[in-house]
């Protein structure tokens, strides 16, 4: 009888553990509907995979987190000019990708903006205070900090990093989650070379292979979060737009509705423009970038390119994405504060009503379209929609 009791207790404890959400410092989720060789992976196989991925994410994080004193990035940030720092494989790989992206975006993507992020109080030490309304730092202080925020002051050769200017500090936050998603995909492919399934590292999703059991015939689908759900949305408030017919693609979204504050009728987002030294103000509120998995470092590219779109005038942003589409099939959806969106590439982007019509026709009347497809050429000056003013007014100082 005691053996039965012990068994039941162990079973109950296992059940409890199974119910608990896995705890990652970096938020990660793996679809339970994953296939390999046409066979659905069992729960234990998924669980094993999740454990391995968790270990990998922690390993990467330990190298690149600015919150960990012994991390490579923390050591680089603390180093004096001319001091050589040896870094681990993940940091070295990320810095190499960063160098390439810095060049390709003409500096719009820069990983050397830690000092500016700190000046604007968006670094982890200000956690809990990001949203506190505050005036801008003085122009002199911004200019002074900008001088100490040049990626060109960092020399990288393999695993060796040397700073020309000791004050420059790195923050790999603009690429880290995308890079992690590439490493996760590599790990999965080592175990299951023909894996079909999806996973997400924060707002970076990877859709591997073709969708299995595709009863709707839509391939993989993805929701583009509505960054203005607080004032719009209908009965499907979280979806601003929807993607369908996706496969073998990395999808990354950067938006201004996380980590921001409102002061003097202006949204100050955490994405810093490396040219002005200020939070980006180009009228863009959300950028989603889709990178085919056939491209090397697809996840990292999607992550970095979605950030870069905030740091150019709008017309340049759209031209930049058009050139990426023509050169290598990278697509983008850019939503602006006039509640218009532009689609670059031939990805299938659906309005909520169109998507509802395909998968739940009975909901078509109850969902609302929020954003309109941009007609004609965009201008650099974006006139905010009335709903944008309503959204900003939610956060005005009382």
């Amino acid at each position: 009888m005691k053996r039965v009791a012990a068994f039941l207790l162990i079973f109950a404890l296992c059940f409890l553990v199974g119910c608990a959400q896995p705890s990652y410092f970096v938020e990660f989720s793996l679809s339970q509907n994953a296939y390999s060789g046409g066979r659905k992976l069992s729960k234990s196989e998924i669980s094993d995979l999740q454990s391995e991925i968790s270990g990998l994410l922690h390993e990467i994080e330990s190298q690149i987190s600015t919150e960990i004193e012994e991390s490579d990035v923390s050591r680089i940030n603390a180093a004096a000019a001319g001091e050589e720092i040896r870094v681990g494989e993940h940091t070295a790989a990320m810095l190499e990708i960063c160098s390439d992206l810095y060049e390709k975006t003409n500096g719009a993507f820069s990983p050397a903006l830690y000092n500016l992020s700190r000046l604007w109080k968006f670094t982890p030490e200000f956690e809990g205070e990001y949203s506190v309304p505050r005036p801008e730092p003085s122009a002199d202080l911004i200019a002074e900090t900008l001088v100490n925020s040049s990626f060109e002051d960092i020399q990288i050769e393999g695993d060796s990093v040397v700073k020309q200017n000791g004050s420059v500090k790195l923050d790999l936050g603009g690429i880290a989650k995308g890079y992690m998603s590439d490493c996760v995909r590599e790990l999965i492919l080592q175990k299951y070379p023909d894996f079909c399934g999806t996973f997400s590292v924060m707002s970076n999703s990877v859709l591997m292979g073709e969708k299995q059991e595709d009863s709707a015939g839509l391939g993989y689908t993805a929701m583009l979060e509505n960054p203005r759900a607080a004032v719009t949305g209908g009965t499907s408030p979280n979806g601003g737009l929807y993607f369908a017919e996706l496969s073998q693609v990395a999808v990354s979204t950067s938006a201004d509705n996380y980590r921001f504050y409102v002061y003097d009728d202006t949204i100050y987002k955490h994405i810093i423009d490396p040219f002005t030294g200020k939070p980006s103000q180009n009228g863009v509120i959300s950028v989603t970038v889709l990178v085919p998995l056939s491209l090397e470092n697809a996840g990292a590219l999607a992550d970095a390119y979605s950030t870069a779109g905030f740091c150019m005038p709008l017309t340049e942003t759209l031209d930049f994405y058009r050139s990426l589409w023509e050169e290598c099939g990278i697509g983008a959806v850019v939503i602006t504060s006039d509640f218009c969106y532009a689609v670059v590439g031939d990805y299938t982007v659906l309005q909520p009503k169109e998507y509802a019509e395909l998968i739940r026709p009975e909901l078509t009347d109850s969902v609302e379209n929020v954003f309109s497809l941009r007609e004609g050429e965009a201008l650099d000056t974006v006139v905010p929609d009335e709903r944008e003013r309503e959204y900003i007014s939610l956060f005005k100082e009382k």
């Binding site: 059940f15 119910c19 956690e127 859709l207 719009t232 998507y355 909901l363």
Partner: protein
Amino acid sequence: MDRKEKIDCIRRQKYFVWGDVVVITAAAALVIFFFLLSFVNSAAQGDSFSVLYRGKEIFRATLAEDAEYVFYIEGSEGRVVLFEQGKEYSDYNVISVRDGKVCVSDSDCADHTCRHFGKIAKGDILCLPHDLRIRIDGKGLETDV
């Protein structure tokens, strides 16, 4: 109780005592509770709200049942539990669910903006001072990611 009775009792206890009943009942109750809970959670997916702290979902509950929850910050963690009247909380927002709608009925944040969102059945309620987002989950337009 003579020696023989004592030995009999010890022998009996060797195989079965009241403590066994308690352990077995507790274990069975736990198994049944969490087995049923798993069905409750899955049933609530399409008609529920989520609470996100620092952008990360920490709680989800159904809109079908009226209830009062409290979100509060403990150290660097955000927590959501059933609200207890009279109990003192700090850095908190009381989340009320009534008739399928959600509102923040009380809070100690600096600006009280969250309370001005009123009762919502769509969209989000934001509390910037607490880095809190209460989100009505989509009803039916599911996607893979």
